[in-house]
Symmetry: C2
Subunit: 306 residues, 2 copies
């Protein structure tokens, strides 16, 4: 069922050595490759046939669901609409992500549009890795969208990473935070050559006591370009923080535009940003410990993106 390329992609995207345990849905080249449900986690193709609906029963704890997408068909641009309904009081981990293998000069792409409703007091950890491999010269394109609605006291942590090989990425993360809810987004993106990556984030703090924290870490190598936008809008007594750091290498270009909108007198919004090269003293310190220049750079980049 899984060929060597599939296995390589699954390993890269979801740390999977073959078919995962528990609930899963694997999509390959725009089609269902395998699906497994569990007592508490149901997965169904949606009514339109354009994606899946994942329903997590209220109170489900310590369970996970894997939904990797793999792509290795020249010229295919796959689009999928997935809906996640995370029941009240549950505590689950969702491992998503997309791996592209490009073996020709034709482009390949995937757009995953993910909508989440996180129930009252529920916790969700969402991990999404984007990877592109292969010797083909075709463009590898990934345009993910996540739309999250957090109900009262819901809690979501989203770890989004794209650490190499993707030529073009346009990301949109949108979220609406209900009373007492918490959202933490960490995005890590490394680009090289002539790659471009754009990330737009629309975070609405509508519930009293809601908290949002978004951290972006970018490494911009070669002639690549990264743009990072956040619109953090506070409509209630709430707390929001944006942190964006970019390391520029070679001739990389970085733009970061965080908008803080305090539309409520009890909103508290903060932001820190820093764009620049690796600090010289950091390099010197590592080189004085016996590392070469390249090793020292590599060590710093790894630490920064960890």
């Amino acid at each position: 069922m899984l060929n060597a390329i599939d296995k390589e992609l699954l390993r890269a995207v979801a740390d999977l050595e073959g078919i995962p345990k528990g609930a899963f849905n694997i999509r390959k080249n725009g089609k269902l490759l395998g699906r497994e449900v569990s007592a508490n986690i149901n997965i169904e193709t949606n009514a339109e046939g354009t994606g899946i609906v994942i329903r997590i029963r209220p109170g489900t704890v310590s369970e996970s669901v894997h939904i990797p997408v793999i792509l290795s068909q020249a010229g295919l641009h796959d689009v999928v609409y997935n809906t996640f309904v995370v029941g009240d009081d549950s505590d689950v981990t969702i491992i998503a992500g997309c791996g592209i293998h490009c073996g020709s000069s034709e482009s390949e792409g995937h757009s995953g549009i993910h909508e989440f409703r996180i129930g009252k007091n529920a916790k969700m950890r969402y991990v999404e890795k984007h990877v592109a491999l292969g010797e083909g010269r075709g463009k590898r394109i990934l345009n993910p969208t996540t739309k999250v609605v957090l109900e009262e006291n819901a809690w979501a942590e989203m770890e989004l990473s794209q650490l190499g090989g993707v030529d073009e990425a346009k990301r949109l993360n949108a979220a609406e935070l209900g009373p007492g809810s918490t959202l933490m987004i960490t995005e890590r993106v490394m680009t090289d050559a002539t790659q471009t990556a754009e990330s737009r984030n629309e975070l609405l703090l509508t519930g009293e006591g809601s908290k949002a924290n978004i951290v972006s870490r970018s490494v911009v190598k070669g002639n690549s370009k990264q743009d990072f936008f956040v619109n953090l809008e506070a409509r209630a007594k709430c707390y929001g923080h944006i942190e964006c750091d970019a390391i520029i290498m070679d001739n990389g270009i970085s733009e970061t535009v965080p908008a803080l909108k305090a539309l409520h007198p009890d909103a508290e919004l903060t932001h820190e940003a820093s764009i620049g090269k690796i600090a010289n003293d950091q390099l010197m310190k590592l080189m004085s410990l016996g590392l070469t220049y390249d090793e020292a750079v590599d060590r710093i980049i790894r630490g920064f993106l960890k």
Copy 2:
């Protein structure tokens, strides 16, 4: 020559007790009220008759020029175009600013469009206060524009403040920084009631070794609204920093949108922002020293805007 209102406005805008010493140009209700030039500082009406040209002879040091504008005529919306040519190697202080006295229900406004060319190795300190007084209910509008070109190793410090009474303000600060030049902008704005203040800043770091630092401090009281935008664009090896802090009181609304654009691999750009109420522990500390709540708030606001 100066009536009581004129004197009150001049005191508020430029700390002047009557006619200043040294070079000056006082504009009242759209007309010249008085002018004095010095051996090194020339002031002439421009060719179009729409404002003045101030020329500072190269090498002029420790001199100052006052160019206050005062306005007390109901219904008048004054527009003036001033040009400043600061000669190489000079070191001067320019005291600008506009005071509006409104005594009726008709609006009054002033738009000062100021263009600066700061010569090689020259230093300029520019102080601009905006004040509106009077019991009239007419709107007081101030829309200042500053456009600054800094030549090699030029240095400019701009202190811009609007600490009360202005109903509507739209500011634009634009600057282009040559090699080795330095620009420091500090903006302090306090709004109350239904006042609105917008500040747009377009800073281009085009010269190698150029440095820009922009600090914004806002106090947003009543139902007022403040918007702060910066576009910090780095096109050379350079350093840029943005710092924006806003204190929200009552039902004030604040938006801050700083864009950091690193278009050169050796650019170093940083940003810090914080929007929120006065910290409770700061208030408690002052109140434990015997201050009332209002006195403590007042003390903190003064310190913040200093």
